[in-house]
Amino acid sequence: MSQTHPEMHERRILHTELMWSFGVGIFVAASLSMILFTAFTISVNPPSNVERLDPKTLHLSGEFAEHNLGTTVGSDGSVTVRAIATQFMFLPRCIVVPANRRVTLRFASPDVIHGLLITGTNVNTMVVPGFVSQVHTEFTRAGDLLMPCHEYCGLGHSEMWATVQVMAQDEFKPGSDGRISCAQR
């Protein structure tokens, strides 16, 4: 296979390369189209609410004061969970949510960077001091799930996790104040 071989002609090489580049272009365009398509049609977007909150004072008043933490059902039926991620626990340590209903999860950190995921779901966010992290989701099955801290936050990091109790719709009965806590099992 010398340089005079027709396959090795300079123009032939360029032609082959352009063909391949065309394929690469199609591949890149297809990948991006998928991301855009799912973002616009079924709202697959990263948690990006960009909401600032002072980590030094968030526990004193407002939505992340202790009495506001946990699950709240609004008068319009919306379900909101508020939790604090702190060295080395989540407050509250157990979160209750209804199955098959849209839930808004809101997290904040008073100290260092944390992060969380809920096993078997698409819930995943960093919790960065100075900001509120917000995730919308719908839990599809009743049962207990793990919610661990997934960003290193200090030597006690491995012990930092909470439980998410997903209740069937008919078991999920908030009190008259719209508040509901985990069932003791």
Binding site: P47, P55, I113, I118, H150
Partner: protein, 538 residues
């Protein structure tokens, strides 16, 4: 090249000593996390170990290897003496001092912040000063690479810079851009906090600056592997490089697209909006281009070699390749790992899939497979290829070299494929131990043990690698020095100025960086986010 050989060997031995140490403690960490090692070690020991593993692999192995390899390429590809040899040695000692300063606080437990050191968690100030010294030393290396290329161009007007050197300088230029983010974070935010000069830190800004460095640094580590693909593998296989121009374009694309994409590491972060995230995801998609072009060009080059050796048919040329040569074998194994790892990378890029895998074992698996697998196996191949020239000695047998490469490949696959699976199951990363009494976690146990077995194979391979190199220092004297660098099918006589230097591309990088990072950084300068209180690890 007498002195240059000592310079290269000094760099490589620091790199590989750090590598062997990091492999050993990495294997220990896998044991501790597995059901077999429950109750072994304390979290303090574990996170000290993870910090040491990350720093050794990501900062010491890479920086020293790349500097040593750059000096080697500058001397051999340009065929002229290295300019500023005293500066090179000064940089070496500064970097080594930096490593010592970094290691002491890690070993005393005052820097268990992992190699990503996300504030407001803060380590001893010496940890950061040591890292800054390593980076500063690498800047001297960058300048020396630029000077070597500029002097060669002056002596050889109009001639194209040899591809190996062109790529090395592309990496140096990219590294200068890359390190700006982390340098600003360290000097203006983290070090003042570690010194106690400030009590709070803007974490949103710190994460954004770190992300500037976080992706491109991986390409800094990766480019030596691509240099071997383009300039060494075709020659080792007995063929020609399919296209020199494609090589140049690939390295230019790496320079351009590895920088304005770091925010894809922050997709799950609350401090940036969807629009800025999407701009960087858009640019991230283009990062796949240089790798896809490389797979094509190198496969075509290998096909030339296979057919020259008598290979026939659509796939017959593959069997005809000289797989007994370490460089050829490593290239093949690297491509397999690049295939799996590249697929994983494309998954990471999508918003929806990223939410499934962010900060799970999938991510740990991804970068171990891409960097530890496809890149580091090429570091081995490069070391095996150039060690005879550095030492003036010859291998008695190449069998231990092949065994070592195969062990590394098998170990990496056995370790990282279960990690990918566990990540999809939701196994989170960066923890010292798992509660295997929990039914969800208990189901992961067997796969964790399989990946631990992969880790043991990797450690065996690492020991064999260092043993192979050490043995060569006592091998028989080198007979014939074979040419190292591949010729192109059509060696370029002249190339456009744009493909022979980086002036134009630096302007483009600047424009893209302003587009991608201008607003995300400016927002914190215009209106700082509420500061978080500095937390010292001890």
């Amino acid at each position: 090249m007498r002195n240059a050989e000592r310079l290269c060997l000094a760099h490589f031995w620091v790199a590989f000593a750090a590598f062997l140490f990091a492999c050993a403690i990495g294997t220990w960490q896998m044991w501790v996390r597995s059901p077999l090692g429950a109750n072994v070690g304390t979290p303090g020991q574990y996170f000290m170990s993870v910090t040491a593993h990350g720093v050794s692999m990501a900062y010491v192995l890479t920086t020293f290897f790349i500097m040593g390899f750059g000096y080697f390429v500058a001397v051999t590809a340009l065929d002229r003496a290295l300019p500023g040899k005293l500066w090179a040695w000064a940089a070496y000692w500064v970097a080594l001092l930096g490593v010592v300063l970094t290691v002491i606080p890690i070993a005393t437990g005052q820097a268990s912040v992992l190699f990503t050191f996300y504030p407001p968690l803060t380590a001893s100030v010496w940890f950061y000063i040591g890292l800054v010294l390593v980076v500063a030393a690498s800047w001297i290396w960058c300048v020396l690479m630029l000077i070597a290329m500029t002097e060669w161009k002056r002596e050889n007007p109009g001639r194209p810079v040899p591809l190996a050197m062109f790529a090395t300088v592309a990496n140096a230029v990219m590294w200068l851009w890359t390190t700006v983010g982390v340098a600003v974070e360290l000097i203006f935010q983290v070090i003042p906090a570690a010194l106690g000069l400030v009590q709070t830190i803007d974490v949103g800004l710190a994460r954004t600056l770190f992300s500037w460095t976080l992706h491109a640094i991986v390409y800094f580590w990766l480019i030596p592997a691509y240099i071997a693909f383009y300039t060494m593998a075709p020659r080792a296989a007995g063929g020609r490089l399919y296209s020199d121009t494609m090589g140049r374009l690939t390295f230019i694309l790496f320079l351009i697209y590895s920088l304005p994409v770091g925010m894809h590491h922050l997709l799950m972060d609350p401090e940036h909006g969807n629009a800025t995230k999407f701009i960087q995801v858009l640019l991230t998609a283009f990062v796949a281009v240089p790798t896809l072009l490389t797979i094509f060009t190198i496969t075509a080059s290998m096909e030339i070699a296979g057919r020259l050796r008598g290979g026939r048919g659509t796939f017959g040329w593959i069997a005809a390749l000289p797989w007994e040569r370490p460089m050829v074998l490593a290239t093949g194994l690297s491509f397999v790992m690049l295939g799996f790892g590249g697929f994983g990378g494309i998954v990471n890029m999508g918003y929806g899939m990223n939410a499934m895998v962010h900060n799970t074992s999938w991510v740990t698996a991804h970068f171990h497979l891409i960097f530890g697998g496809s890149v580091v196996i090429m570091y081995f191949a490069i070391a095996y290829a150039i060690w005879p020239r550095l030492t003036g000695r010859e291998y008695q047998s190449r069998a231990p070299l092949r065994l070592q490469l195969w062990l590394w490949f098998l170990g990496m696959m056995i370790m990282t494929l279960p990690w990918h699976w566990l990540g999809l199951q939701g196994q989170w990363r960066r923890v010292a131990n798992f509660n295997y009494a929990d039914p969800i976690i208990a189901a992961w146990g067997p796969w964790v043990i399989v990946s631990f077995a992969g880790g043991i194979i990797l450690l065996a391979s690492a020991v064999l690698f260092v043993g192979n190199l050490a043995a060569l220092h006592r091998g028989p004297a080198l007979g014939i020095v074979r040419p190292l660098y591949a010729l192109a099918v059509h060696p370029p006589l002249r190339v456009p100025a744009a493909l022979n230097g980086f002036g134009l591309w630096n302007v483009l990088v600047l424009v893209l960086m302003i587009a991608a990072y201008g607003y995300p950084i400016a927002q914190f300068l215009i209106d700082p986010s509420p500061g978080a209180i500095v937390h010292r690890v001890r």
